[in-house]
Amino acid sequence: MRNQFNIFKNLDKITILLFLALIFIGWINIYAAEINESHTSIFDFSQRYGKQFIWIIAAILLGLIILAFDVKFFPAFAYVIYGGIMLLLIGVLLFGTTVNASKSWFQIGGIAIQPAEFAKYATALALAKIIYDTKSKIKTFKDLIKPVVLLAIPVMLIFLQNDTGSAIVFSTFVIVLYRENYIPGWLLLLGIFAVFLFILTLLVNEFIIIGILSSIFLLTAIILRKKPASIRQLLLILLVINTYVYGVSYVFDQILQPHQKMRIAVLIDETVDLRGAGYNLHQSKIAIGSGGLTGKGFLQGTQTKFSFVPEQGTDFIFCTVGEEWGFLGSSLLIILFLTLLIRIILLAERQRSTFSRAFGYGLASVIFFHFTINIGMTIGLIPVIGIPLPFISSGGSSLWAFTIFLFTFLKLDSRRLDLL
């Protein structure tokens, strides 16, 4: 019976080690990015790196508290937690503090809390619960209604906070829906293709894309000239795609603000707007690019230290990794993330309960999305969208939310035999 109270029993050690490695990497890189000549101690609480140390200690405590919960608490209270966080999201709209144009913070004493960070966790819980409660073997379109509503509520509320970055994170839950047979693979691929085509249309003149697609069609048509039925089908697809491409470009010419268009234009050549949208990206690429193979060494980065890279401790923390640790260091960080993601997926797959599995996939999806967007943005593959790098970026809310998220899953995994 003593084992009942050992909260560390059966905890996945690989995941714990990866977690500790990531938060440590985050901390020392925040220190390198933000170091202040007159406050050089990494424990100086007046500085971001000192504060981050407090956040880390608090995060680990929160993780331990999560482990102390009874495992059945999470499925049982999934909706309650979800409802509570949604109320906080409404509350922040009414009583919140505005930071960088986003009204998404609660200021409590010296600590700023961003409920949107916790909304991802709550949504993953509630989504897992819905999936668990849906007993039908073959999922129909009707089964999709509940999950979609569940996702739409936080997305809407976070959009209203003017925090577009956090809102689009929720699109990542389609991975969970795919895994749990709510949506077929071809639809997901089609979605990815649509997003890809969408970005391409914004980058390249729409008529070039339409021209290329039409030429491909022409070639295929010549090859398939014996099969008129296939040609008709192809023609239809071509028509749909071309309309889509033209529509996207037309609508976005009308809707996108000039500064938003600029954010996309700088992906091709950041020098078109060096003083504005291109500035961050250009400086970010200089910092990372100048790191070379092995990097300049800990605290030796000049670009990040001279503050050329904006938000270097938070959204652009990867620049410091790139500059000081070089290609080897940044690749290692990417590999650590991939390992963590794959580990979480493997753990998810060994769950007996659908709840735990869906929740595990939810966790992996959210980390994956943050990872992809954040690093993609610093290396100029994705437009600048301000969301943090999990466990690495400085800031309490993000770190705590991801820690709770991860430790809830570890708890579920450690008691996987108790849950059905």
Binding site: G289, F308, F327
Partner: protein, 607 residues
Amino acid sequence: MLNQHQSPEIGSRKKNAIIFFIILIGVLYITRLFFLQVLDHRYKIYAESNIQRIITDYAARGLIYDRNGELIVYNEPYYDLMVVPGQVGAMDTTEFTRLLGITRPQFESRLQTARSYSRFKSSVFEKQISKDIFAALQEKLFKYPGFFVQPRTLRKYPYPVAAHTFGYVGEAGPTDIAADPYYQPGDYIGISGIEKHYEEILRGQKGTRIVMVDALNRDIGSFQDGRYDTIALAGTDIYASLDIELQQYGEQLLKNKRGSIVAIEPSSGEILALVSSPGYDPNLLVGRVRSQNYRKLQEDTLKPLFNRALMASYPPGSVFKVANFLIGLQEGGITTHSRYSCPGYYYSGGITVRCRSHPQPVNVETALQYSCNTFSCIQFRNTLELPKFQSMQEALNTWRDHIVSMGFGITFNSDLSHELPGQIGSSDYYDQIYGPRGWKALTVISLAIGQGEIGTTPVQLANLAATVANRGYYITPHVIKAIGTPENLNPEFIEPRYTSIDSIHFETIARAMFETVESGTGRYSRIPDITMGGKTGTVQNPHGENHSAFIAFAPFENPKIAVSVIVENAGGGATWAAPISSLMIEKYINREINRTWFEKRILDAEF
């Protein structure tokens, strides 16, 4: 419930697909990093040459000359000490603060302010550093990474006059920046006067340069050979119509008095002098002392910031008989043959308007010459009661339209800032007070002698003198003669504006004004060798001593100058305003004053 609703194979296929996708992104990113960090050496070069700094090249503001080519507004260079907080590194702060003469907490708080604006964009650390500090600082600047000096210019006025006309320049505020993306914080913008009206011509086009600086804060050349630099274009010079000597003389004449002088060249509408007294030295509203001085001027009870020449509205008194007689002649209320005798007052329906003693009887010319109130009232009433008018309203509106055609009750909307229209009584106004049938010509008889519901500004009165000088039209009074070169006349203001009065009537009134100065109320101010026309006025002032008013033009045959003068609380027009007008005319035409005793009396006067 162990994966009961799906076969394990499908689940595992999906798991593999997801893992594959994750690894795909990872590989893509690592490949991208390999290109960025290992293959592409450009970024190392950028980083080695270290840091870009965006420097604004402020365009030199256009200069302002007077009508004779005299430089009246120019730029004086100075330096702002700028800081890029993110580049501030280890330095000898003690030495730096001693050099600037600031304290350590000041240093910290300014750095904090700059940091909160932007860590990586420059902001002003110390405005307008003195030449001495600049010299000392420039040698040591390399020791203070993150700091650099930005050359700027300030307006300088060699003649401390015409402040209202010049207006002033200040830093663009949030509303300016919101209204026009050209402006950035720290840019200068014309806030009033010529500086505001001609802002786009004067400001030129600022440029930006991206330069690379090394770790020692030294400029090591332009970024990518200046591919992204834009060149600053200096502003265009402009030529004011002011005669700066005349302007200066006018301000001297009104010293220790309150009032205004407006002088216009009738043939062009160009303002030769625009004096509002008390005024102030335009050099006071320049640079870092501007807001402090502005506040002081604002609190001054004599209101030096108030431009009386354009904004003060006075009932013009007898000066307005010029306009009224023109309307009487035009409408047929009187003719040049009309004669009336004046018993020393006008009396009708219980209303008495007093006159003074003067030769009898009077016609339109002698009535103006002696400023006869009786004749004025009779002709005004005759005109309004002409049988061709169906109603009192129609009559008064006709009168008012004529007045407006002479430039009253409206603003000229030229390049003068803060101009006010004054007011001219309208039939609507009287209808409201007395009811549509409650008033008649006698009710509004005070308009006949320029009193009552009537307010005119000094520039409008000078324009009336110019209109008479031109015998029937005026050109919008304006203060900028030419743009770029003296020959390139300001195209905005060349159209003549004809009044609704025939020029033959102007001929009559002009002759009457000539006689006024030769042998009428203005004879005391006659200039021996210059022919001139004029009209005196006494502005009733319920709050104290009457204001003295005079309008004039000269020479009579080929007028070069038209003037209006108002001296507040000075008494009759003949005693103060007329002599000042004649001195202005003498100064402008002869370029010197022969009547020194006459001049001395004015200069010594105080009101």
